[in-house]
Amino acid sequence: MNLNFVIIKLSKVLILLLPLAVLGIAAFSCVPASSGGGCAGPGAQGWSGLTGYNGILYFGSMDGKVLALDPSARSRGLSFPSEMEWSYTIKAPVPPGSICGPACAPAAPGVKIYGTLAAAEELVYVGTYNGKVMAMNRSAPGYDEEGNPSWIEKGEWFYPRGETKFIGAIVGSPVVAGDAVYVGDSEGTIYALDAVSGNKRWEFETGGRIWTSPAVSDGVVYVGNYDGSLYALSSRDGSQLWKFESPAAIASSPVVSGDNVFLGTFDRYLYAIGSADGEERWRFEGENWFWASPLVKDSVVYAGCLDHKIYALEVRTGKELWQFVTDSPIVSTPVLVDNLLVVVSQSGETYILEADSGALERTVSIGYSVMAPLYAGGNMVYIHARDRYVYAIDVQNGEIAWRFSSDIE
């Protein structure tokens, strides 16, 4: 057959197929998992960090699982669940009136949990991406949407009440302070709930999306939003004490230390704001966003940046003491174990540094990307990675002591 003729025939088919090809390539061109970005869905795992209470670790997953891990049982290699361990899946009801075309994913088995859980007394608190705050019994969760009395007897609750009632998507972590739980949502509202009953005490509309966690200190709740405003609110009644406006959205959860509140913004600055008056003390410029919350110890602020660097800055002046360059952006909040600073880059490379000098002590490679904040307990650092595993790293010898897959039935 004449080649030109074949090309002509093919071109006619291509003209019909090209728009569909464009649609396919463009819509489904997700960013590789190693870079941590891209499409939401089952691929986007490992956002919730771990939190510890009475020796038990709690964390959530992107398929709605809330898990309790006993590190001693894991280190001994006991089968899951041991005595204090459990896994509970929060189901995702389909919102009424939702319209879904053919490209919709199949019904999710559970809700997404981005934020780190909070634990206090007998309860563990979870904020879900479908807009519920839940308090679950730490030893035997039995959350029941139908109002089964068993959960009330166990002190469990959810907010807002009612199967079809939701607040905005929750991305940040709930924070427990005193007898209240504070949580912000994507609609821009921060809620103060009674930690025991789940009743709402107050709410405050900030007017901009809240994707970070609030910080509570000395009766003041600090919360930042994507309108670039940091609010200081009275924890008693939610009244506004002051407001700081930055030129760009607030990227990281605020951290309070001494007289200052530290936070990163999308204009590539790390700010130190006076906690009493909301005045800017200093700002430090990175080469990308300070997404991870800074860590403050003594007179040093340790700030991980998406420019691949971790900076050590003087608390009082913001002067750079040292910096360490990693292999990829730093998304996770670092931790300190004694005088060792543990930093994980997005690629999963773990760096154990001398906190005073930034000198590298050792590295540990996880091999999967990490977005969740780190949690330290004793000599161990716990990392929730994108492969759904929790890794326990012994900081002293730089070895992975154990790992646990949350991908269980």
Partner: protein, 274 residues
Amino acid sequence: MAELWNSIILEPVLNSLIALSEILFSNVGLAIIVLTVIVRLVLFPLTLRQTQSTKAMQSLQPKLQELQKKYGKNQRKLQQETMMLYKEAGINPLGCLWPMLIQLPIWIALYQSIMRALAATPENLLDLSQHLYSWSVVSQAVPLNEHFLWFQLSQPDRYLLLAILVGGTMWVQQKMVTAPATDPRQQSMTSMTTLMMPLMFGMFTLSFPSGLALYWVVSNIIGIGIQYFATGGWGYLTTPSALKPEPARKIPPAEQQSKVIKKAYEKKKGAFRR
């Protein structure tokens, strides 16, 4: 390869979209409309060429059908005659394909930019951070305000309006360029193709962010405009999809037609030489 794509094509488009949204009163809906218009203006010469090539190809349809009738059983002869017909008419059959191929990367970049810029989830936002320039106008705009009219641009349109607009405008655009067929078998095929694509895109609109649907609608409307002015009217939109065969009209045999075209072509060439 991916890095090359990102730095040369995707990131300029993405950052322009974000900067535009900041300039246009923090309105990403307006930014999508303006950027789509700009991109279509830049690509206008190519689109025009594609439209003209398509029109020229379609003007040969009756002659091609005649050839089909005459040499239907002799594929080799049919191919030769078809090629000769294209050659004599001075038409490159690939003329309507290559402008589309050149435009493709830009469409894909615009498409990906809208998806990325809206950053509906934390992972999308984190990914976005790796593609932004250090312009203050960009950092101040992110994350974009996703509200435009009654749409939440990172979410599908709940009210079906965009799905209808996407499907409708795409149908009009396709109908303007699709020549009605005389052969009943070809006729059902043509009408199915004309309907299938708008229906599919309408269905996709139900699932994709409405920011993308907005881009499709604007792009289709501009396409209709270009088609209207380039071809001097509504094309085949006002023609019934099924043309009755025209037995009364005497169509000269294909070979004779070829000669006529050849003569005209040579005359034109001669005039050009003089």
